[in-house]
Amino acid sequence: MVKYFCSNIDIKSTWDHVVSAFWQRYPNPFSTHVLTEDVVYRELTADHRLLSRRLLMKTNRLPRWAERLFPAGMSRSVYIVEDSIVDPVERSLTTYTWNLNHTTLMSVEERCVFLESVEHPATTQLKREAWISSSIYGFSKPIQEFGLARFKSNQVKALKGLEYALTNLQGTSRLLALFRKQTSQKNPQPLSLQPALTEPFLTHAHTHTLTHYNPVGDFTL
């Protein structure tokens, strides 16, 4: 049996900004469990799509009841693969992310599709799906429940992290634009370093799944 999760969210930022921030979202204050990040494969296809594979290493904090299912001395790091396809013509970014090790205990697979909104080009639509399963005999049900709950909590962190990267990116580009404007003037005025963004990016989440959940750790993506 596999637990399934799905959410649709509008990100109040252009698709160009969202996909640029996607590559620059680590580190951020909401992802302290992500320890390393690497690009291990990259290809530009003949039809101008960008294929990438990233390898992430995350900590594997577990609740005490699950700790005893882990053999002593087993690696506590989780390796995650994040494959993605950016199509600048279709204006889509599709990601597929899953854990490479500890898959008997829990396997989490996530698919995200970031699309430019047809009606509102300044908005990016994100559809996030996840499949969570466990093969631990006699414990698969509570582990899947735990995995799903943690996934829900972590997807909120993931969005906050992306939002953080977007703020940084837009702050930098606004500062650069200001700088260029400034340097092209005859009598430059001092730069004003105001916060680039004061409004939240996320305008509307179509699904509200965070009702009865108390986060306990960071196994999932």
Partner: protein, 74 residues
């Protein structure tokens, strides 16, 4: 962000900087002139692939977008 290979972080930083610039300023704008980051990528890969082997990370031979193929279309 750190690389999984402690010695590769600086090479990764150089590559990321090159890539992010190319991505935003060329790729997204439809500019199909060559990729200026090939050399920095090659240096970074030499380092990181060695680290992956040393740490025995089971990423070799994993199909691109692998498990995705078993999922129902939505």
């Amino acid at each position: 962000m750190n690389s999984v290979g402690e010695a590769c972080t600086e090479l990764k930083r150089e590559y990321d900087q090159c890539f992010n610039r190319w991505f935003a300023e060329k790729f997204l704008k439809g500019d199909r002139s060559g990729d200026p980051c090939t050399e920095t990528f090659r240096r970074y890969q030499r380092c990181v692939q060695k680290a992956i082997k040393e740490k025995d990370i089971p990423v070799d031979g994993v199909e691109f977008m692998g498990p995705n193929k078993d999922k129902p279309e939505s």
